[in-house]
């Protein structure tokens, strides 16, 4: 088969760019550990409480160490269960100090949902039978919309909560209050 000289140059250049590009992706994934969310742990969607993390009292934000937090969430149409506050009201807003490491663990009791803290890298599919899990560092302060980005039924667009990343000082102030 005949390749035109310019086409050879074009394809060699394109092929080399491709190899370089894939090498960068591979380096990121396997050396730096930036794989997309691929957690493999399974769970019974009709009995998520069997896993301690998803019992009512353990839902929402929990501080586990200095600058280390866990957020456990049970998703269902059309609601993220982030636990209850001290007054027994459902939590719809969580505050996380800037710079802390946060492990998000999410399961669904019914259909497939999305779990996206819009504008951040927290973006996972949540599927019945699996625990979706992702650890991130939140370095930008501000108010972020936590929303379902996989169609889950008639109220899909009403499935949301708010995540606020706050400066360390202001969070200490809040704690002091």
């Amino acid at each position: 088969m005949h390749f035109h000289k310019y086409e050879k140059i074009w394809l060699i250049f394109g092929g080399a760019s491709l190899v370089l590009f894939l090498a960068i992706l591979g380096f990121g994934a396997f050396y730096l550990g930036t794989h997309p969310q691929s957690h493999g742990a399974i769970i019974d969607p009709e009995n998520v409480e069997a896993n301690e993390a998803f019992q009512k009292e353990n839902l929402g934000l929990t501080k586990v160490d200095e600058d280390k937090y866990i957020v456990n969430v049970v998703a269902s149409a059309f609601h993220y269960d982030l636990g209850n506050d001290d007054n027994g009201n459902a939590v719809s807003r969580i505050e996380i100090p800037k710079g802390s490491t946060v492990l998000f663990q999410v399961v669904t009791k019914d259909v497939v949902h999305g779990f996206n803290v819009a504008g951040t890298n927290v973006n996972m599919m949540v599927e019945p039978g699996y625990i979706s899990s992702m650890e991130v560092q939140l370095n930008k302060t501000g108010e972020f919309t936590l929303l379902c980005n996989e169609y889950c039924g008639v109220g899909h667009h009403m499935m949301f909560a708010t995540v606020e990343v706050v400066d360390d000082e202001s969070s200490n102030e809040t704690a002091a209050k």
Partner: protein, 561 residues
């Protein structure tokens, strides 16, 4: 290559294309009628969606947003595309290798099977019993008739595939030692890819969804059904794209007064698309739990292999443009570009489609980039992406084909007036899409979700910022709907009212002294063997993993739709 063979090939180049008989034309046109009716219905649904999402409009009569979204996806992504492609491919084979009476009858069986399937699925959606979107992700459950209809559409398309292969086989037997005409070769490849990939969705629908929706199976394995869907879902987009490439490689050269750049490179790129379209479905599932990330990465690498035939195609197109321009007297570095027929809508519409494929392809690279996918997954960026690729590149090429194919089949002429409307149509489409798709891309990067009705998300600042982009999408979407009205008018004119006459079916030829295409390129067993080997390599281990480590299955959910 021996002299005798070279002579034979040259002889074949001079074969005049066959003519399409009236009964054949009727069959091909029937597919086109369904395609253009679908375009109108689907486009209208799109208009309603962008209006709802602007926040200033509510759907009347209790119609649900997700109902019209389902209709939009099913009727455009599955019905319009499949009907247009099968009708177009039938006409290509009728023109290049011929169609017997029996094959035509089977063609009608294919048409009616697909049409009845479409009616079933459409009825379920219109009754509000199937608000599951065109991806019908379990465990959302639609009425069984929705799945049965989809299965019929797929089965109908398989009948078309077998007729196509039979047409090429008969021609081949009558013309031993000659290469299959380029367009017939391309149709054969596209239908091989289609049948191999749609087996995945057929298994999901027949084995998983139908028994489960009828209540014979209590639960469904969600991840398995999604994996089978995406095994089909990515080659689906190449099934849309390859017919556009057929026009680019083998029809546009004729329209602009040139020759095919390289017959063998065109075939090679199609073979590479066959190899690398299917073993890649995980790149739609990158953020899903339960799939090993190493296998995700392997499929990402396989996905990126299509870069090579894509670069080959880009080179071929512009080389062909330049050679043709220079033949027409162009001098200097870029003068040839001006020599292209900028007033010929049969060229301009697909050319705008080609341009859209530059940002479209670049966006695709981002989407498939393993970890980078997390940034845009399920944001409206993705919607913006495929409105460039399918809804601009592919559709504008299909429109470009319609301007000559419809009058050729109806025995009418593309009049200067309709021609001019076509140019306006292309401009409206390009501007509308630039606004709509551009706004979708930006809103997606800011985190705005796809597949969502209007919402203020509890009044966050972010969500307030998104509304502005949604208004822009409404403006772009309205322009696009005007473009659809233009196109429907043009279609009706070309079908029923344009003056009688003869419109050319342009099929490009090779240069007289072109280097002959090697005959090993038609080693179908080898190409299919490699395709299947790649699929087995990419899917066997992760599939076993998904099945062996299955969680408890899911019961159906339909009360939340």
């Amino acid at each position: 290559m021996s002299l005798a063979m070279k002579q034979q090939q040259n002889e074949e180049i001079n074969l005049t294309p066959l003519s399409i008989s009236k009964p054949e034309a009727k069959l091909y046109l029937s597919f086109m009628y369904v395609a253009f009716i679908s375009l109108f219905i689907g486009g209208l649904m799109g208009l309603l969606q962008v209006l709802v999402r602007s926040g200033d409009f509510e759907l009347p009569l209790g119609i649900g947003y997700y109902q019209i979204l389902t209709l939009h996806g099913v009727i455009l992504a599955l019905v319009l595309t499949t009907f247009f492609i099968i009708g177009f491919q039938f006409s290509l084979l009728g023109k290049t290798v011929g169609m017997s009476g029996r094959q035509r009858k089977l063609g009608w069986v294919s048409f009616w099977t697909m049409t009845i399937g479409t009616a079933f699925t459409g009825t379920a959606i219109l009754l509000g019993k199937a608000n599951v979107l065109y991806t019908f992700y379990a465990p959302l459950k639609a009425h069984p008739i929705f799945y049965i209809g989809l299965a019929l559409v797929v089965v109908g398309s398989w009948i078309a595939a077998f007729v196509n292969w039979h047409q090429v086989y008969i021609w081949k037997k009558a013309h031993p030692n000659q290469k299959t005409p380029l367009l017939a070769f391309m149709v054969t490849i596209n239908m091989i890819m289609w049948v191999i990939c749609s087996i995945g969705v057929a298994v999901a629908v027949l084995v998983q969804f139908i028994p489960w929706s009828l209540g014979y199976a209590e639960t469904i394995h969600v991840l398995l059904s999604r994996t089978l869907f995406w095994y089909f879902g990515h080659p689906l987009v190449y099934f849309w794209l390859l017919p556009a490439y057929m026009a680019w490689y083998a029809i546009i050269p004729k329209i602009i007064g040139g020759k095919i750049f390289s017959d063998s490179l065109a075939r090679l790129s199609f073979i590479l698309f066959l190899f690398f379209s299917i073993p890649v479905g995980f790149h739609h599932q990158l953020t899903e739990p339960g799939i090993d990330p190493t296998w995700k990465f392997i499929q990402v690498v396989l996905t990126f292999m299509v870069v090579i035939p894509s670069l080959m195609t880009a080179f071929s197109m512009f080389a062909m443009f330049e050679i043709t321009g220079r033949k027409n007297g162009a001098t200097g570095l870029l003068d040839w570009f001006k020599k292209l027929p900028w007033k010929d809508v049969r060229f301009v519409a697909p050319f705008v489609g080609m341009l859209a494929f530059i940002p479209g392809g670049a966006g695709g690279l981002i989407n498939a980039s393993h970890q980078l996918n997390t940034v845009i997954h399920n944001t409206i960026w993705v919607t913006g992406h495929f409105h460039l690729t399918i809804a601009t590149t592919v559709i504008l090429t299909f429109f470009g084909i319609s301007y000559w194919l419809i009058p050729h089949l109806t025995g009418r002429k593309l009049t200067p007036k309709i021609h001019k409307l076509g140019i306006y149509q292309t401009v409206i489409w390009a501007v509308g899409m630039l606004i709509m798709s551009g706004a979708m891309h930006i809103q997606g990067l800011l985190g705005g979700p796809r597949r969502s009705s209007f919402s203020d998300y509890g009044g966050t600042e972010q969500a307030a910022e998104w509304v502005g982009y949604q208004v822009a999408q409404a403006v772009g979407g309205t322009l696009l709907f005007i473009g659809i009205v233009f196109m429907i008018y043009i279609f009706v004119e070309l079908c029923f009212f344009a003056p009688k006459g003869e419109e050319e079916f342009p099929i490009a030829e090779e240069e007289k002294d072109a280097i002959p295409t090697p005959l090993w390129m038609e080693n179908w067993k080898l190409w299919i063997g490699i395709t299947i080997a790649l699929i087995l390599f990419a899917y066997t281990v992760p599939m076993i993993d998904i099945i062996q480590n299955a969680p408890p299955g899911s019961p159906p959910f339909d009360s939340i739709l």
